[in-house]
Symmetry: C2
Subunit: 468 residues, 2 copies
């Protein structure tokens, strides 16, 4: 092979004018042909598209071609020529092929015969080599960048909150314990309980369920922050919507009230969807055409629509009216109870037919730190509800009044001792502030149209599964 | 207060022309004055700089001013006027002040009397309110963005590798165990060992020490990936250079050999330093002036310098020559042993006086996956050594040959069973590839000039410390 030609990525090759000598490297998606000629579809992950390699069958090339099958890794030198049949503007007329790695067609786990999502989850170490997961991983990466860019452009500080924590945030979820104690022989203290003094951190520690409380420390110092990192729930939920390890984005802003918070959340999510449509068109088009022909229309719909903003109480009235008019729900609708997925979807998909921001929830079904309304019954919470997904964002204005916050903590029989550091934000220079959390994988379900959350994270962690 | 005036951030106010009505919100850094007038330095975290608020003392303002002390949170309406004494172009002549939160000057933990880094670590929940930690957190955020932007612009896919893992990566470090078993009463199996079948994942799981192996799965599918996320070491190292929880960046690239890898590492780190100097000048200038007057010169030095590229063997010769010439090292210098920090610093700071990339280390002191050289003794490893920091990047070309890799695993008595998924990358369409790891906090030590790694991460986790 001519060593002086620099390798070009497939994404770049497909946009180059015909006529030049090029070098492509990648993995074989398919090989076909006739007696005179072979066609190889080569992909290198830079785009969903393949570049077609055309190889003349000669005594020299035949033994090389015989070693090439789906999944093999090769480098191809040749001339970029105009293509008639490949569906692309250009293809490569090969002058030299180097095989980096063969791929035994009998043993290769990615065969045409089983391409179900269920099967592909069992070979999650290889599934990024498929068109679908290549597209999903590129989209995931693009959306992560869009998130960082969005907040960076607004002057938010990216704050890395801790993963290992002594605190249990809001008591929101079951936690994984983190320890270096020997489980074979747990050391005991005088009370015959595990002696956490001997543990790495000298205390019992867990994996965080939210970075929000630490986020508030940041916001009340540098103004506007966001977190974007892994979060954990040790809940035994074997559903298409739950993961034990997932990524969360949690912005927290000083001097934002609940309205500013809603404005930011709506603008944020619309910007992300627009970014996807503007920058990831090939991958979204592929997913639209292959799995869900309403995907692009649904994404475009979000950008052009003003979200409904509705107090929880009015939402309850709408649902009760629906029941009165004959609509059946599995779960009852009563002021004071949490909405079920079926209720949220009714409001979004049937009643309003667009995203809804539900506000002013009953305080008893929301976390202790939410700002209390004057009615004594509700708090300045907000949940953003999306078609197909349900709750995609949850947030609130935070209670800035030390006395009210302490009273609420006592009412809920929480231990104030563990929260003194958090209460210091209200004790010293307290300020009005708000924030919300977006589950990254929930966003990706919406953007990709995938049905199962295990298919939008590279290596899903779920009950009884921590493979790879 | 006039409600129609929108709040401006301090960073924007300082660049605005005098004459307009403005609204500023933030925290009081200092209040001083005389009988007629009060000066308040207000900071909102958007910049290291404060805006000066000038308040006439009147019977109306005096009681408000009396409630304002360092740390209090206020909103100020007024006219932006040219400033003579504040060191900035403009200041605010206040017409109205709203107090959001007072700050008891007796109890407030951030007092002038103790501002040592040791003390501030004990109030890590409040230290972002200081000039120094505001600057560090902004720099950390900016560098994170620079990293995402760098790889995004090159078409790399951001890959989120798992935190909870069954694998022990390279056996590189002690790991934290993750469990939902009750440590008070660990269930036992028939062999009287902990019954991990009852644990959340049905197996013993730990927190990852590196995302590299999963990164290779990504690179051998979508071409070029990088990780950027938390990583863990359960090592009982109470030093200024070690954390139990830290952030790593690990790019992994198909079709890169060791030279391409070195080129990328050098360009990457130079781009990051340049980004810091171009985009974070105020914060770096502050740290330079306050703590380390050689900081900016050191940063500029890296950008302009070609890194030395030196095989380990030649490094050993240089160190031996130094000993022969009378230089004293604490640790011996012998081919086959790992270099100590004193050796690395001698090469970088005294011999070459610039960053050094050391390559071709003895295989016995490097990980199993590194590409074996033809000499049978060394591997295509590379460590980037920096002044003051020592090793800032470690990487290698990876062994792409299945047989050689399997032999090496057997030689090291590692269990191949646990690595079959990893070996599949070499079994099916193997390709030449390379990668490296950059410790984010090591980079930040270099960029900020800080001495202790606990001061460049918001909430450090170290032995016996997981507070906040």
């Amino acid at each position: 092979m001519a060593k002086e030609i620099l390798r070009s990525k497939v994404n770049d090759l497909l946009a180059m004018p015909a006529g030049q000598e090029v070098l492509a490297k990648g993995w074989v998606r398919t090989k076909r042909g006739n007696k005179e000629i072979a066609f190889i579809a080569l992909n290198d992950g830079s785009t969903i598209k393949n570049i077609q390699i055309v190889v003349d069958k000669t005594p020299e090339t035949e033994p090389v071609l015989a070693r090439i099958s789906t999944g093999a890794c090769i480098g191809v030198t040749g001339t970029l020529v105009e293509s008639i049949g490949s569906g692309q503007a250009v293809e490569i007329k090969a002058s030299g092929i180097e095989i980096y790695g063969e791929c035994d067609p009998v043993r290769y786990p990615l065969q045409k015969k089983d391409t179900s999502f269920e099967y592909l989850r069992t070979v999650a170490h290889l599934r990024p080599r498929t068109n679908t997961f290549g597209a999903i991983y590129r989209l995931r990466s693009q959306m992560a960048f869009a998130i960082h860019q969005y907040f960076h452009d607004k002057g938010f500080v990216y704050l890395n909150t801790p993963l290992i924590t002594e605190s249990d945030a809001e008591g929101a979820g079951q936690m994984f314990q983190v320890t270096t104690l020997d489980l074979n022989n747990v050391p005991k203290n005088k009370k015959n309980l595990p002696d956490y003094k001997q543990d790495f951190f000298g205390k019992m520690t867990s994996l965080t369920v939210s970075g929000q409380l630490e986020g508030e420390l940041g916001a009340t110092a540098v103004g506007e922050i966001y977190t974007f990192g892994p979060t954990f729930r040790a809940e035994n939920s074997n559903t298409p919507r739950h993961l034990a390890e997932f990524w969360m984005i949690e912005p927290e802003m000083a001097f934002y009230d609940i309205k500013d918070n809603m404005d930011l959340a709506e603008d944020f999510i619309k910007s992300l969807v627009k970014y996807a449509l503007d920058n990831c068109r090939d991958d979204i088009q592929f997913l639209n055409d292959r799995y869900d022909e309403t995907l692009i229309a649904r994404l475009e719909g979000v950008i052009d629509t003003e979200f409904v903003r509705l107090p929880y109480g009015e939402g309850i009235e709408i649902l009760k009216a629906a029941i009165a008019a004959g609509h059946k729900f599995e779960y009852p609708v009563d002021w004071g109870t949490d909405l079920q997925s079926e209720h949220e979807r009714y409001l979004v998909e049937e009643h309003f037919k667009r995203p809804v921001i539900l506000t002013d929830y009953p305080k008893d079904i929301k976390a202790f730190y939410m700002k209390q309304n004057e009615d004594g019954k509700t708090v300045r919470a907000m949940d953003v509800l999306f078609p197909k997904i349900g709750e995609i964002i949850g947030g609130s204005e935070r209670e800035a009044d030390l006395q009210k916050l302490e009273n609420r903590i006592d009412e809920l029989h929480m231990k104030r001792d563990n929260l003194e550091w958090y209460l210091d934000t209200r004790r010293f220079g307290s300020c009005p502030h708000s924030g919300f959390g977006l589950g990254f994988e929930r966003l990706l379900l919406f953007i990709t149209g995938m049905q199962n959350i295990r298919d939008v994270i590279p290596f899903p962690r779920t009950p009884k599964n921590a493979e790879f």
